[in-house]
């Protein structure tokens, strides 16, 4: 999986109330996404382009279990989130909907607006002439991303099960 876009750099502890504000939670996904990160960068939702990469510090996505935090980024076309560390529920939510969330130590070396090129399968990130290695993902996470998320993986599993049950009968 290849992701190419500009870096949007944020700080530490970007929480789910910033990613998906409570007051906007009844809006349809596309409208809710327009409020994503508005309290820290009012231009983000309007100007982010498909393939852009969110780059942040520690504990990205802390707070609520609301999956809309990850869905809003995905809806805006964000290709990947790179952070020094992730909050557990956000991390699982992102992987489950097929949004790559990658733990990355050198986030301080990425400037806002930098052109980035990532290859998840090969495990590298390029910025200009510099190449950074991405940490390998555990096999079950890799499988989830490869399947396109948890629902797609379940769909495959259930189809196989039905096939097996059918051939037994």
């Amino acid at each position: 999986m290849r992701v190419k876009g500009r870096a949007w750099v944020f700080g530490d502890a970007i929480n789910t109330d910033l990613l998906a504000p409570g007051y906007a939670m009844t809006l349809p996904p596309k409208e809710l996404a327009q409020h994503c990160l508005e309290a820290v960068n009012p231009d983000f939702a309007r100007e982010v382009r498909p393939g852009d990469v969110v780059v942040a510090g520690d504990n990205f996505g802390l707070g609520s279990s609301r999956e809309q935090a990850a869905i809003s980024l995905h809806t805006l076309g964000v290709g990947a989130v790179l952070a020094r560390s992730f909050a557990r529920i956000f991390y699982r939510n992102a992987i489950n909907i097929g949004l790559p969330a990658l733990s990355f130590d050198a986030v301080d070396e990425i400037a806002d607006g930098a052109a980035l090129d990532l290859d998840l399968a090969e495990g590298w990130l390029k910025r200009g002439g510099d190449t950074f290695a991405l940490k390998p993902l555990p096999p079950h996470i890799r499988d989830l991303i490869a399947a396109g998320g948890l629902m797609a993986q379940l769909h495959e599993k259930m189809a196989k099960q039905r096939q097996a049950e059918g051939s037994d009968a």
């Binding site: 109330d17 939670m25 802390l62 609301r66 555990p138 629902m151 259930m158």
Partner: protein, 427 residues
């Protein structure tokens, strides 16, 4: 081989294994799946229907309406209706409609049993850890997967042991402990479990213990566990839970912890956390005189019967300051009834409190109960992120129910001990 932590024991049991090691990736069978109107059926149903999948076990599913209650507009009414329709269509008997906040409902209805692996569609599911349940929050795709298969994956986490030594001082509460721990341990303890132990926990009532577990979510932890002891057994027995064998759900004496952190309970002052994070906590003395527009006593963590008692101890015979609002939302209908029966509600009402229905609305900025531009609030809730309770320019301080009530009386952050008699008030 070293002994097992409580987290390891519960995960091993749920995974059908005799032992798991920290770092193992395992598939667990979920004992109880809980979701509310915001996180559950409205997210599950379309995907379950697309897969043609039934609910794996309706008896192991608990549904609660608490986020959009009572409906303030058509969208909220539709969300609540979807929840009710799902409970009916899929045969979910454990459906609690407008009876209170899900995390308080679970133990109130006797649905938690030590050793359970509980998956909840809400980050504060951790509250069940006080009952020695591995109770963790999950997002909607994870809970949909569990609703269909009854299973999920987890990586066996390391456990941080928090040792609370000694007795809390007068008018110092579990909430103060947790605000202090947010500052000391930070909010980035992801993929780890917090376990609480020590004399400060042994002597703590169940309601206060649930605060430690609830706000393990603020520490970023998977769950916040407390091993079973006499206090747990008594609390379980009071709600009719069979406690046979429950004592087994505690860490082994030689269990391995990744870190031990000791907090002296007896030295702790009441705490306040400044905007916009629970980590901004410090002794209340540093905040005295900060003006507040609203005091909110609400949420799973901060509107239990014991919290209402704390507020009443301060407010008895006193009035909310002119120009200041005191808003109270008891955590459950049962709490409301108990506070009505024992006279607590009358004291709050006489002081000038405004009551909201039991639910999550004001805490999470849902519905028409939000803070306005520039509002300053002292809240008994668990997180105060920018904009959470309403306008992005509102400012939320966190504190105990004692602190919220005291600020309501003066219109500014005030040491509640100024209004309390140590000989008369039991926390």
């Amino acid at each position: 081989m070293a002994g097992d932590t409580l987290a390891q024991k519960i995960i091993a049991r749920a995974a059908g294994l005799t032992h798991v090691a920290v770092g193992d990736d395992v598939t667990v069978r979920v004992d109880l799946l809980m979701a509310h109107d915001g996180s559950g059926p409205r997210r599950w149903r379309p995907r379950m229907e697309a897969l043609g999948a039934p609910l794996w076990d309706p008896d192991k599913v608990v549904l609660v309406t608490d986020h959009y209650v009572p409906a303030e507009d058509q969208v909220a009414a539709d969300i609540l209706q979807e929840t009710r329709d799902f409970a009916r269509d899929y045969g979910v008997q454990k459906f609690f409609d407008m009876e209170g906040i899900c995390h308080a409902i679970l133990p109130e209805k006797g649905l938690l049993k030590p050793g359970m692996f509980v998956a909840g569609g809400d980050s504060h599911t951790t509250m069940g850890g006080a009952y020695a349940c591995y109770a963790a929050g999950f997002g909607a795709t994870d809970t949909t997967g569990i609703a269909i298969t009854g299973e999920t994956w987890t990586t066996v986490p390391e456990t941080i042991l928090v040792q609370l030594n000694g007795q809390l001082n007068f008018a110092v509460t579990a909430k103060d402990i947790m605000l202090r721990l947010c500052r000391e341990l930070g909010m980035d303890n992801s993929f780890k479990v917090i376990e609480y132990t020590g004399s400060g926990v042994a002597n703590m009532a169940m309601a206060e213990r649930t605060v430690l577990s609830n706000m393990a979510a603020e520490l970023g932890a998977e769950t916040g566990l407390i091993g079973v002891d006499g206090v747990t057994i008594d609390a379980l027995a009071a709600t009719g839970v069979d406690t046979a064998g429950a004592e087994a759900w505690a860490s082994d004496a030689d269990a391995q912890y990744s870190k031990c952190f000791t907090l002296g309970a007896s030295g702790l002052e009441p705490q306040i956390a400044a905007p916009h994070s629970p980590v901004n906590s410090d002794d209340i003395g540093h905040f005295i005189g900060t003006q507040v527009d609203q005091c909110y006593i609400g949420a799973c963590v901060g509107a239990k019967l014991t919290d209402l008692h704390m507020a009443a101890a301060v407010l008895r015979g006193r009035q909310v300051a002119p120009g200041t609002r005191l808003v109270v939302a008891p955590s459950t209908a049962f709490t409301m009834q108990a506070a009505l029966a024992d006279g607590t509600l009358r004291i709050l009402e006489d002081a000038g409190a405004t009551f909201l229905p039991s639910g999550c609305g004001a805490c999470a900025g849902f519905g028409g109960r939000a803070l306005g531009d520039g509002d300053v609030c002292l809240s008994t809730t668990n997180r105060n992120f920018k904009g959470r309770m309403g306008h992005a320019n509102s400012r939320v301080y966190l504190g105990s129910a004692y602190a919220a009530a005291a600020a309501a009386v003066t219109g500014e952050i005030t040491d509640p001990r100024d209004f309390l008699d140590a000989n008369r008030t039991a926390a």
